[in-house]
């Protein structure tokens, strides 16, 4: 059983058996093979973004970047960054704002709903939870047009609101994940706080949230990534180029009957990934620190 502070951190060495050296070598090899397999496409993208438009489409041209590609690489990235066709600095700003607003809202509202599902009892709670799950199953294509009408009536078309305001009402995935986690937090903590005179809001803020930090970080990270990479929303709801997000920007280099400069498209994709990669690296530390206490048991 996992308690947040009193017990000493569990160490993961296998005390009762020593793993044989051959075993460790085998597992190491497997791990690195797996990592290499997962890295290969990423390397191809990176290398492609360093090459010229002709060379990038030659699939036999090797996966690893070469030193002589350096000048071309600088050229590519500079062209993408200063391109007249695609205003990436603006796109990044827009995406950043939308993603940050979405993330904050989504985490808070999902945590609130998850708290209610995990800690409170009321009639229809379980049925409502099944409804939460059901919202994950709605295919997005057919509700986007009615949603457009709705946003139009609210006067939100032409603003960023359709992209981040819905996040402030929670998301099924996050509620699901957080509820599972909250159920593992011992009720003694709630009791203790209640005895000290905390209302349920107080318990939520002072007990549940701090203990659940790793899960909240996971939810926030996934929310940020989801908002950052969202394509359908910005496509339909954003009408002005200066309001485009990064996910739309990556498509600005495609051509219809022309030849798409895939090297620039890849460079644009790499630029699109860098901010969210930074967020991931920040979050990873927080997750690893607290993950010993995170759980998905009920």
């Amino acid at each position: 059983m996992s308690l947040p502070s009193p017990s000493p951190p569990r160490r993961a060495t296998h005390t009762s058996r020593q793993t044989a050296l051959s075993d460790r070598v085998l597992l190491s090899g497997l791990l690195w093979l797996t990592a290499a397999v997962y890295l290969a496409p990423l390397l191809i993208m990176l290398t492609g973004s360093f090459r010229s438009a002709d060379a990038v489409l030659d699939p036999g041209a090797g996966v690893l970047p070469r030193l002589d590609d350096a000048a071309q690489a600088v050229d590519n990235y500079r062209e993408v960054w200063t391109s007249a066709a695609a205003d990436f600095p603006t796109y990044i700003r827009n995406s950043l704002m939308v993603a940050m607003l979405s993330t904050i809202g989504l985490t808070l509202s999902s945590a609130a709903a998850a708290y209610a599902f995990a800690r409170m009892r009321w009639r229809g709670r379980d049925a409502l939870f099944v409804l939460v799950l059901a919202t994950l199953m709605i295919p997005p294509t057919v509700i986007i047009a009615p949603q457009y009408l709705l946003f139009k009536h609210l006067g939100w078309i032409g603003t960023f609101a359709p992209l981040w305001v819905p996040a402030w009402f929670g998301s099924a995935f996050s509620i699901f994940l957080l509820r599972q986690f909250f159920l593992t937090i011992p009720r003694e903590l709630d009791e203790a706080a209640a005895i000290d005179g905390c209302s349920s809001l107080g318990i939520f803020w002072r007990v549940i949230l701090p203990v659940a930090r790793p899960a909240l970080v996971v939810v926030a990270l996934l929310a940020f990534i989801g908002s950052w990479n969202d394509f359908a929303g910005p496509l339909i709801f954003i009408n002005q180029p200066h309001m485009y997000t990064v996910s739309l920007g990556v498509y600005m280099f495609q051509s219809q009957h022309g030849q798409t400069p895939w090297n620039l498209s890849l460079a644009a994709s790499v630029i699109a990934v860098v901010p969210v990669l930074a967020v991931f690296l920040l979050a990873q530390k927080a997750i690893i620190e607290g993950v010993a206490t995170q759980g998905l048991k009920e």
Binding site: K152, H242, M252, Q256, H257
Partner: protein
């Protein structure tokens, strides 16, 4: 004094929080709209949604800049859209349209019937003379039920590119490309080269390379897909069956699996240095006029020619080229804020000089009836005349002007695939005909129902 780990944690959290707040501030700080940069004051802004990005988009931007600088009242902002169909339908249907929208010509029947594209003959004419400005086939694309609904925005048709060096090598006369389907098959057989395992090293001619226009082969057999007079689909017409029989025979002759594998290898390299024609892996290919641009870019020493696509052996008027004309179009959507202003810009786009400027940049033919000698001289493809002749031919045609065309086209694409795999052409087309006709009839009865209820 030692810093406790708690203090470190707190200050780290504070640092992240501050960084986050700074990022948010930087992101949300109001700044000038880059797309309106340089706009003189007092102008009315028009938003023009166009699907072109990349090089085509840049060419269009040049034209738009010319317009913006040529007058004082309006300022057109190009909004590049990566998926115009969904976005245009949602916005226009939702009552929130832009001032101009660029679509494909096959969308005109649907938008016209739905009243979503304003009829252009309701605007004052001025310099725009309507029908006489355009090639007859283009005019067919721009009108629906006798009312003009769209302006044209570049057009294209297809021609046969052939590698003269390969011809010489195979003992064929490089100045005598195939004119009939029979000759095409014969020449292709001489140009085919396979390796020891039977895989294709060089393809003489493959109809699935590229597989972008599977419905277009009927045109070379004088097969019509649609009868405008009766409004019926005619998928199972003799010419269409003959076309698919030829496809089936080609597949069997060349080897179905080998040909599919070969075609697929090049699916992403079209127009690149590894393009099958540019790299010499295919001796003959059916493509649009823009290929010349890429040949010049990647393999300028390629010795090639372009001719009208070969037609079936026993057709009347064999000297007239066949082909299907397609175009990009611009509409003024229903409900836009200032139709007259949109019309001003549309008229500018319909000027011969404007269309020629775009056609030069896109390396396509001009859709206008009159063609300046300068256009032909400066054109990046020295074979633009071939495409021009096809566009002007009285035997060339356009896509069926029915709102169910996209689904009909996909059914025909499926038929092409089935026949390639060995299905019987007549039976396959009979099934397509049944479904397509069903769709057309359904659309008509729904249209009648809507009209009865009073308005779209």
């Amino acid at each position: 004094m030692t810093i406790t780990s708690r203090q470190l944690r707190v200050s780290r959290r504070a640092a992240i929080g501050t960084a986050g707040a700074c990022a948010l501030a930087w992101a949300a700080w109001p700044r000038a709209q880059r797309d309106l940069a340089g706009m003189p004051r007092g102008r009315k802004v028009l938003h023009y949604w166009e699907k072109w990005t990349g090089a085509e988009g840049a060419a269009l931007q040049g034209v738009i800049n010319t317009f913006n600088q040529s007058q004082e009242k309006l300022w057109v902002v190009r909004v590049p859209i990566s998926d115009i169909s969904s976005k245009a339908m949602v916005a226009i249907g939702g009552g929130d349209p832009p001032d101009l929208v660029g679509l494909f010509s096959y969308s005109v029947p649907l938008y016209a019937e739905a009243g979503a594209a304003m009829p252009l003959d309701s605007f004052p004419e001025h310099e725009w003379r309507g029908e006489t400005d355009y090639l007859p086939n283009i005019w067919k694309l721009l009108t629906h039920e006798a009312r003009p609904r769209a302006g044209v925005n570049t057009c294209y048709t297809l021609g046969l590119y052939y590698n003269r060096a390969h011809f010489r090598e195979a003992g064929l006369d490089p100045d005598r490309p195939p004119r009939t389907i029979g000759e095409l098959d014969a020449f292709a057989d001489r140009l085919n080269a396979k390796d020891a395992q039977g895989a294709i090293r060089r393809a003489g001619f493959l109809p699935n390379l590229p597989a972008w226009w599977p419905y277009s082969w009927s045109a070379y057999f004088d097969g019509r897909l649609f009868d405008s007079a009766t409004g019926r689909a005619t998928a199972d017409e003799a010419g269409n069956i003959k076309a698919l029989e030829w496809i089936a025979a080609t597949a069997a002759r060349v080897g179905r699996a080998e040909a599919s594998a070969f075609a697929q290898t090049f699916s992403r390299s079209i127009h690149s240095p590894q393009d099958p024609f540019i790299s010499g892996r295919a001796s003959m290919i059916v493509q649009g006029p823009w290929l010349a641009n890429f040949i010049r870019l990647h393999n300028p020493s390629l010795d090639y020619g372009v001719t009208a696509v070969p037609i079936d052996d026993a057709l009347p008027q064999p000297e007239l080229p066949r082909g299907l004309l397609e175009a990009d179009v611009i509409i003024i959507p229903r409900g836009c804020k200032n139709p007259e202003a949109s019309w001003e810009f549309l008229r500018f786009m319909q000027r011969r000089e404007t269309q020629e400027q775009l056609a030069l940049a896109h390396c396509k033919g001009s859709p206008m009836r009159e063609v300046s000698s300068e256009f032909l001289a400066r054109h990046p493809s020295r074979f633009v005349g071939v495409f021009d002749a096809i566009a002007r031919s009285t035997r060339a045609d356009v896509l069926p002007p029915t709102r169910v065309w996209p689904q009909y086209a996909d059914l025909l694409g499926g038929a092409f695939d089935s026949v390639w795999r060995g299905a019987d052409p007549a039976a396959t087309l009979a099934a397509v005909q049944a479904r397509a006709q069903g769709l057309i009839e359904r659309a008509s009865s729904l249209r009648a129902a809507r009209a009865e209820r009073g308005g779209a």
